[in-house]
Amino acid sequence: MELSKFELGGTRIKQSDISKGNVLTLAVTPKLEYAWDDGVAIGRYLEELGNGKIIARKCNKCGRIMLPPRMFCELCWRATDEWVYCEDTGTVNTFSLCHVNWDASRIPEGEPLHLPAVIHIDGASPGMGILHVLGEVEPDKIKIGMKVRAVWKKPDEREGSITDITHFKPVRAARKKSKKKSGGGR
């Protein structure tokens, strides 16, 4: 049954076929809103972010100190045991320099790129990374293995969200700045 022996379906149309009315469409915006409960583990995680701290959860069976924290260990399949504070520093495991917004629109020329990274947090078990963004760094200076530190919102601006950390910046730059702006962090 070679494909060449069949007339294949699927008729390609263009955006202009729609705008000119050659093909009719019905445009609809769904009206949906959600309020997501944070749950037990992430609830505490967010609460501590509001305090300027990163907290993990430890499983005493496998010994993993897990980020994001969870009330059950998915490997040992048992309840986790204790809360453990981590550092607000870490290592860049991988990163991207992103020119695209969530909806595939492009970031205009001259505006800052999105700099997502997987950051392995100090004090959690090796390999425990979180997704966050980098900042206060030239994109071409970012390297895998780079040490970074969380940059926190001011305490009264925090709301118990992952965005209470505005970004992570290279540790060396953090030291210089922290002399000028002491007390701005934790």
């Binding site: 049954m1 494909l3 008729t11 390609r12 998915e74 495991n93 991988t94 595939a104 997502p116 997704l131």
Partner: protein, 386 residues
Amino acid sequence: MGQKVAIVGAGITKFVSRAQETGKELAWQASKMALDSCGLTLNDMESVSLGSAPDAFDGVHMKGEYLRDGSGGWRKPYMRHFVGGGTGVFAPIHGWFHVASGMFDTCLVVCSEKMSSVYPHPQGAFTTIFDHTTEQALDPTLIWIFALEYNRYMETYGLTKADIAPVSVKNKKNAMDHPSAQLPGEITVEDVLNSELLAWPVNRLDISPASDGAAAIVLAGEHAAKRITDKPIWIEGVGWSLDTAYWATRDLSYPRHVEKSARMAYDMAGIREPRREIEIAEPYDPFTYKELHHMEGLLLANRGEAPQLLADGVTQRDGDRPMCPSGGLLGVGNPISAAGLMKVIEIFLQLRGEADKRQVPGNPTCGLAQAWGDLMQVSTVVVLKR
């Protein structure tokens, strides 16, 4: 196990950026072609299985029910399955459950996808795959996770973008011989490297397109298959595996869940030396690096060495281990579930010697198709034999 299961017919539409047809109409076109290809009618189908990607693309809740009439599922045992990007290769596995169990002798397996309905771009529909509390607040876009994985893969093995870009060159060229192809073409490595940079290290020509399209296959049990065709292609091994959703805690340089799914399928098919026994493969290639990453996870290349096989021409259609002879997602297109089933259909046609200009030499007898998805965490594999 109740009985052996074979693929006996196949159908596919063109893959296009936007189809005039609805998802139902595309499903109907592919399903009808699949039945026609083996001289059967819908009355011969005892069960129907449908695969389709997230409802968010269509904005239709319960898409399985919506697509049901086009897929021939009325008043029959009918079920929709969905495992993200892995759906298209889970489709034959899902159909296999129905027939291998002995419950049914035939099953029509359909995958239909219409990604063009959602505005401004299907990428937006993907944002809710990220954790709603700890990740979505960072305003992520889908490409992030692939860019992050791509970068980690390069770093771990000391690779460059130029080592990986030839996947796009090969697959788009292969797609020139596929009648469904959306983005076939002759391009160079420089074209890939100079195409628009979306999220370093991912350029535009590193990515497969969003597409509309459908595909379908007909499955039959051992005795029924031999009555229907003298060229049944047997499903000898199936495997699937899902890794943690805490994706940032995984080793992004190596897809361990792909290895798990492959080993499951190899064990079932009695394959001990995949590099010798798997003569052709369709590893999932939504991004250039994924074909290489998946070859390694499928144990068809040593870790970090798939790019060398690519450079040596081993994975070309006339090479020792052809990969994506169809043209893959990069060339044929990526209507998610239908793209995975397109890969299964390609191996089916190759093993029957019916792949037209795409036919790999040497009368292959054993091939593999694989798909992958979710938060880079699910892998589905089928091993097919003549």
